[in-house]
Amino acid sequence: MLSLDDYQRYGRQLILDRFGLPGQLKLQTASVVVVGAGGLGCPAIQYLAAAGIGRIGVIDHDVVELSNLQRQVLHTADRIGTPKAVSAAKAVEVINPRVRVDAIVEPLEPRNALALLEPYDIILDCTDNAPTRYLISDTAVSLNKPLVSGAAQKFDGQLCVYNLGPDGPCYRCLFPRPPAPEVSGSCEEVGVLGVVTGIIGNLQALETIKILTGLHDGKPTLLIFSALSSPQFRNIKLRSRRATCPACGNEGEKIGSISELDYVAFCGGQRPDWVSKGMEMGTPGGRIHAQDLDESLKSETRVRIIDVRPPVEFGICHLPNSINVPLAELVADPAKVTRDEPPEETATYVVCRLGNDSQLAVDVLRNAGMAGIVKDLVGGLRAWAKDVDRDFPVY
């Protein structure tokens, strides 16, 4: 039964042919769980809550940061530092107080995945890393629940419903192995346009509503979105469940096993912490601290600064008089730097964002025969902003 004011609240969708009152009642009694309350999770939760889903579980152990607000639209500036799951629950309370939200401030791990996902009808994968994606898929297979999976990066997105019906493939059927770390990256490393996560997150909410109300045709497809391509959307017809899949294949035909799987190792190990790696001192005398670079710039006359970030980042901010030679160009042709023979006793300092690429660049320059003082900035321009120039932008 709907309460009287719900006829008003949901009127615009109640009058839709094939949706109607039965569709609304299905949403009201349904439960979904959203893993990740970030760029994908926020818009998905927002529309699911507004549409009147009865119960929404939100699993996220991170807290809201300023750099999230560009795309994680349920979070607000005054909730920075609040756990994302709690912040999302507060946002839903304002949109539609009748929705029950379970805010689960815990990381999803092999030890708790079955228990955390079991209470819900449909699982939404709104996470940002490969190990969790495989874990969620394997858990969805064991629980025999549909998995609505979204991903977004740069200007591109992907959307797929896995494990739907008796023949729907699982994530492993399609992607038996994660891509090489060299071709994938996190949003922090490669960037993403907020609208792109919004489009994919909205589509996840849409597919979820279609499944719950019986409007989904049950055919396995992968939707590929590319904001800068034409056409922007591409719908791919997919294979059915793979009989030999180690997760969802037929007993006796499975190839390989996923029990006791170390998901992080399977996906190529722990992601490096680029901030702390950029702070490591390496060989003594090979690097320079921000304060010392500042001193050197003030006292020495013959100094040149090579900034090896991509041109777009150099365009955001750079040190005065620094020269931009992106790392890829430097590696391809070190002579770009070494051939302008600087005057005697010129010190060369290499800088980048966090202090990792600059170390590679110094190695390249030394191997190309560059002599004299060639050092790079420990901790990159982020350290410069922290230790020398508080007004220098951090991004």
Binding site: R177, E182, L222
Partner: protein
């Protein structure tokens, strides 16, 4: 005789191909016989994969090809259909075909 094929890379794979997503290529319509016993055969997807390796790939072949086929985790699409439904490597290319190589995205 040659076939014009549209190639698209996605999900980061374009980084191995000069960071360019769309390519238009020409491949011979027949693969010449290498030995007497072999007859000339129509060009197929398997041939195309090696053609891409030899003509378009700029770096890190091991991130594209493994054990004589595309690396597991790369999805191949023939005119918007999973290649598994089209005979995989044995699919015979036709003029104007569009072949997409896509890797799974992780970001969110």
């Amino acid at each position: 005789m040659s076939l014009t094929i549209k190639i698209e890379f996605g999900g980061g794979l374009e980084l191995l191909f000069s960071n360019q997503k769309s390519h238009k290529i020409e491949v011979p319509s027949k693969i010449p016989a290498r030995e007497r016993s072999e007859s000339e055969r129509a060009v197929d997807l398997q041939y195309l994969i090696f053609w891409l390796r030899d003509n378009l790939l700029k770096e890190r072949v091991e991130l594209f090809i493994e054990n004589g086929t595309v690396r597991p985790g790369i999805l191949v699409l023939v005119n918007d259909t999973d290649w598994e439904l089209e005979g995989e490597g044995e699919y015979q290319l036709k003029d104007g075909d569009e072949i997409v190589f896509i890797s799974t995205l992780h970001g969110g």
